[in-house]
Symmetry: C2
DNA sequence: CGTCCGCAACTGGTATTACCACTTGACCAC
DNA sequence: GTGGTCAAGTGGTAATACCAGTTGCGGACG
């Protein structure tokens, strides 16, 4: 294992994670109040500004509501949290949440083809050229981690070409959830990123400016791995239910 | 105009907004450094903890990178920001950004039918019952604002039934961008929320457990207003280009 | 007896200050 | 050149005090 940057966690980070866990695990239900900032600081053995920073970040994520003079209350995160919370929900307590992973795959399968269609409408030949270069790099390596990186690059270019900020932000959010686990997911994604031919077909459709063909080609890139992974996940969660 | 709750803005909120604006408006390009916390506090006439809170929130949104001992640098928000930034980008300096609005509409049209299809697979008859109640309320009023609220409720139920956390979080993020402008958008959305018959067809398809029909019905609900609004937006931005 | 005013006693909001920890770069010894 | 050292600047954390709201209790007044 190569040397890695040391993971330095600040005090507010730690507080944030602890309070976040309490909320998403339902230890403190929606509508209930958090202890006061002073109390939290005392219990956690940190200063009040540190607690404040963490709570303000919680508020920004719409997980709690702080009211001047009143108590800080927990909100229903399933109803208010945004897509930026995905990384924290996908892997909780070091374990992958199968239901969340399934929904990531479903969303990817639904959104990817739509983005490809938009890219076909708006990309043009120069896009096809750099996409081809990326697919060449994808096809030119045997390492599944590298392949994933190139596949991400590929989709990054497609999303750029789609010229749609919302899809771009969605992509960023999902990449933020995906990248930390990229190495662990290498075997799972090998099936998909090994199909360089499918990426070439998609590139051709986008270059041809044909949205419908691009949509279908994107589906063909994403669907096989999506379906086999979802099957694997249900087997996994069924197995967990037995424990 | 009815009395409204006074808009209380805290100091860190204000700082956050100002720094955010500098970043998204490109005043401080990606890779450049922000002034030090002490300097910012001095320039803005606020305390350093206030600046810190704002900067930490910027970091959480992945808009800046703070390094202990080093400078705080701006990141390329188009590449790193998540969907939670959408509200800030949709309306900037009090004006609606036409390109962003267009992409919201495009994303809605792409995602809505996929969610409806999932809901059809997983919802069952009890879902159809409460959806029908919601459509009844939608059809029972002439007020476009109320209709929008009921339409949001409708989609909220559909998203719930789709049982997919990612779509739920996407919906929450987009609702957070949409709701503040709900009243202003009433005329624009009147065409869509007035078509209660289309909602009924969608409800029937979902209740019947037929994903493909549900997908098509959802498209029929969303497409007309989407296309006419996109047309209106391009006319609007063409007009702005003339100024 | 009920209403309402007003005063604690909470809560979060902000500022000040001091000091610790880390990074950077310049300078110097080897 | 290489490596060490040090000073200056940066963010990280804490302690403290006070301001500014909210809440609820109790007493004064009708």
């Amino acid at each position: 294992m190569p040397l890695q940057p040391v993971n330095r966690r600040s005090v507010p980070d730690e507080v944030f994670d602890q309070v976040l866990a309490e909320v998403v695990d339902g230890e403190i239900g929606a509508g209930e109040s958090l202890p006061s900032e002073r109390r939290l600081a005392e219990v956690l053995g940190v200063s009040r500004p540190a607690v404040r920073e963490a709570l303000q970040r919680m508020a920004q994520t719409r997980l709690v509501e702080v009211r001047h003079g009143g108590a800080t209350t927990v909100r229903d995160f399933k109803r208010f949290a945004g897509l930026d919370l995905l990384p924290q929900l996908l892997v909780r307590r070091g374990h992958l949440d199968a239901a969340v992973a399934r929904s990531v795959l479903e969303a990817r399968l639904a959104v990817g083809p739509a983005v490809a269609a938009l890219a076909a409408e708006r990309g043009g030949p120069p896009l096809a050229a750099i996409l081809t270069e990326t697919v060449d790099r994808l096809a030119g390596t045997d390492d599944d981690v590298e392949r994933q990186v190139h596949a991400l690059e590929f989709w990054d270019l497609v999303v750029d070409a789609a010229d749609s900020l919302v899809f771009r932000l969605m992509f960023n959010s999902m990449r933020a959830a995906y990248e930390p686990a990229l190495e662990a997911l290498a075997p799972a994604m090998a099936e998909e990123v090994g199909q360089s031919e499918a990426y070439r077909l998609l590139t051709a459709a986008i270059g041809a400016g044909d949205p419908d063909t691009a949509r279908a080609a994107a589906d063909r890139v994403l669907r096989p791995a999506t379906e086999s992974l979802i099957a694997a996940l249900s087997a996994l969660s069924a197995q967990e239910d037995d424990e």
